[in-house]
């Protein structure tokens, strides 16, 4: 798309009949047009897979898909009625609040655990650090579906390891607790799977920020009589805050719309209505019920919310790369 005007601009002078300069000129034109040709496939791929659906989605969010439309009638324009409807729909708000709660719990737990392990990495010998790092890489590499299958097995009601351990350490009632068919059980498993899966990224990013803290400053603080806690709060923490903020932000964005973990657990028979989070809710409304209008409006809201939340991250990465280029 971007290439079109550039091509026109370049082609016009090329038509000039002056022979002697034309070769050098053609070369300059080629130089000017070439970058646009090179980015054309990227633009094409993104427009086809994302741009066009985005536009369609916005159009759909302004239309109504009822029973007649399922039998082939053209969708009816309803303006922002779908948005008004989802905003006033109590079940949407329940899903929204539930997603925020799930996100708050899993994101904060993963950040706290991640921060502690990252600090631990700075305190241990090389062998222990490498062992932990290799472990984290293994966890990181696990496909999401494999992770879910493993956690379901660990929490299996009758033969799962978790219930066996719980029964042994003083909770005999838990010996056959059906984790995968209760709401609270499903959210526990999903949160554990999400936290376990996000720890590697959090730990590596915070640890790499921690290694940038200059030792001299810490030593100076030590000489000035600052204890370990004070050194951490006054010296280390301010220096790693930017990294922590970025990881935290990404964590919030990802945990707000967990799809795979919840969807997979829902397949095991728990009440779908009681366990839906934003991602699965959009899926159920749109693909399950065929209410494309409502689902598109909701998806558009989620998209805007995501971009608003991540805007600072995007701006920062952009500024960094600009700096790098100049």
């Amino acid at each position: 798309m971007t290439t079109a005007p550039a091509l026109d601009a370049g082609a016009a002078p090329a038509a000039a009949p002056r022979k002697p300069v034309s070769r050098r000129r053609r070369r300059r034109i080629r130089e000017a047009v070439l970058p646009y040709l090179l980015v054309a496939p990227l633009i094409l791929a993104v427009v086809v897979a994302l741009g066009w659906p985005l536009l369609q989605q916005f159009v759909m969010s302004l239309q109504n898909y009822g029973l007649e439309q399922q039998f082939g009638a053209a969708p009816e324009w309803v303006g922002f009625a779908n948005y008004a409807q989802i905003m006033t729909d109590p079940s949407m708000w329940i899903v929204f609040v539930r997603s925020v709660l799930f996100c708050a719990v899993s994101a904060s737990l993963s950040m706290v655990i991640g921060m502690l392990v990252a600090l631990l990495l700075t305190k241990v010998s090389a062998w222990a650090r490498i062992a932990l790092q290799v472990t984290l890489l293994l966890v990181w590499a696990m496909p999401a579906l494999v992770t879910m299958v493993i956690w379901q097995w660990l929490f299996d009601a009758r033969y799962g390891l978790v219930n066996w351990v719980l029964a042994r350490v003083g909770f005999p009632d838990m010996a056959a607790y059906p984790w995968t068919s209760t709401t609270i059980g499903v959210f526990t498993i999903a949160a554990l799977a999400v936290i376990w899966g996000s720890l590697p990224l959090i730990i590596f990013m915070i640890y790499s920020a921690l290694t940038q803290v200059p030792t001299e400053v810490l030593e100076a603080a030590d000489l000035d009589g600052a204890g370990p806690w004070k050194r951490f709060r006054e010296v280390t923490l301010p220096l790693i805050t930017p990294a922590v903020m970025i990881v935290g932000l990404l964590q919030i964005v990802w945990d707000l719309r967990v799809f795979t973990q919840i969807y997979v657990l829902q397949q095991a028979g728990v009440s779908v209505d009681e366990t839906n989070l934003l991602g699965t809710y959009i899926y159920r409304v749109g693909i399950g019920q065929g209410s494309y209008g409502d689902a598109s409006a909701l998806a558009t809201v989620v998209l805007i919310l995501t971009l608003l939340l991540t805007w600072r991250y995007i701006a920062k990465m952009f500024a960094q790369q600009k700096e790098a280029t100049e």
Partner: protein, 301 residues
């Protein structure tokens, strides 16, 4: 989905320097032993689910369905793996995954390579916008677009096809490969090319003879990461591949496990192990290199 991978890859410390804190007092030495112990326990806890997967996969089902779990897979049994290897669903899913992954890797890396060359070797109007686009696209959650992607592929009669799923994957992965390769190309000084041009190469020839060979590691890394994305992806595959006969590996594992979770955990874990092994091997191979590439280009500049 590539959003995850972008940031996943940004800050891997390839090999972090050991920092001696001896100067902070002798107590550090005494405490270190305790911290080492804590780290060892943390590593065991983190790796345990993976161990449990392999342990279960190598056990016999009758041993799993006893009241006391067995922590070691003895007697070793490869029956579950054999069971997976005669499962038609597995082979069909492997074929689908291999097809989609192959198409995606080749096209995403090629497109990404072209655009990365443009943004890192040319100054042109809109170059900054391209970078911004690449960053924004990686933040778009698949949940926010899959309804209309589903409708679009339905209109084009591309549901349940390798082509349809590949189109969506390519669109989300190319921005990531651009970002990655941009970092690698940036790490190769343009002076090398200029020198070759002084020696009589054309600009194109200089690029092909000087820069391209140095880009080998970058291209391998971008390929492996495109591979991982396409191989592991679940959400879009679920939306696009509605027929069981068109399932990719993650979809197959999901239905396989819900069908058999009452009877054959060893089989399910064998399937999970078979899917993860290539992924883990590839990931471990590239992670150090990826860290270096990202450091060179994106992070440190």
């Amino acid at each position: 989905m590539s959003a995850q991978s972008l940031t996943k890859t940004t800050d891997i410390p390839a090999v972090a320097p050991v920092r001696s804190r001896r100067t902070l007092g002798n107590r550090a030495d005494g405490q270190r032993r305790i911290w080492n112990g804590v780290a060892a326990i943390a590593a065991l806890v983190l790796v345990f689910p993976i161990y449990w997967m392999v342990n279960t996969a190598l056990s016999e089902n009758e041993n799993l369905f006893s009241r006391t779990p067995r922590f070691f897979p003895f007697p070793l049994s490869l029956d579950s793996f054999a069971g997976i290897l005669i499962d038609d669903g597995f082979w069909s899913a492997l074929g689908m995954s291999a097809g989609v992954t192959a198409v995606v890797v080749v096209i995403a890396v090629f497109f990404g390579f072209l655009a990365a060359v443009a943004v890192s070797r040319f100054r042109f109007r809109g170059g900054g916008l391209i970078i911004l686009l690449v960053l924004i696209v990686q933040m778009i959650p698949s949940e926010a677009l899959f309804i209309s992607q589903f409708r679009m592929l339905d209109d084009w009669h591309l549901l349940n096809s390798v082509g349809g799923l590949s189109i969506l994957y390519i669109g989300t992965i190319v921005p990531f490969t651009v970002w990655l390769l941009r970092g690698f190309i940036h790490g190769i000084p343009p002076e090398l090319e200029e020198a070759a041009m002084v020696d009589g190469c054309s600009r194109f020839g200089a690029f092909m003879r000087v820069t391209l060979p140095l880009l080998g590691p970058g291209i391998v890394t971008a390929s492996v990461f495109s591979f991982l994305q396409a191989w592991n992806e679940y959400t879009l595959a679920l939306v696009v591949m509605t027929k069981p006969s068109k399932a990719t590996l993650p979809l197959w594992l999901q239905t396989f496990s819900s069908d058999l979770s009452a009877t054959d955990w060893a089989g399910i874990m064998a399937g999970a192990t078979l899917i993860s092994v290539p992924v883990v091997i590839l990931f471990l191979i590239v992670q150090g290199r990826l860290g270096a590439g990202m450091m060179a280009g994106a992070v440190k500049g």
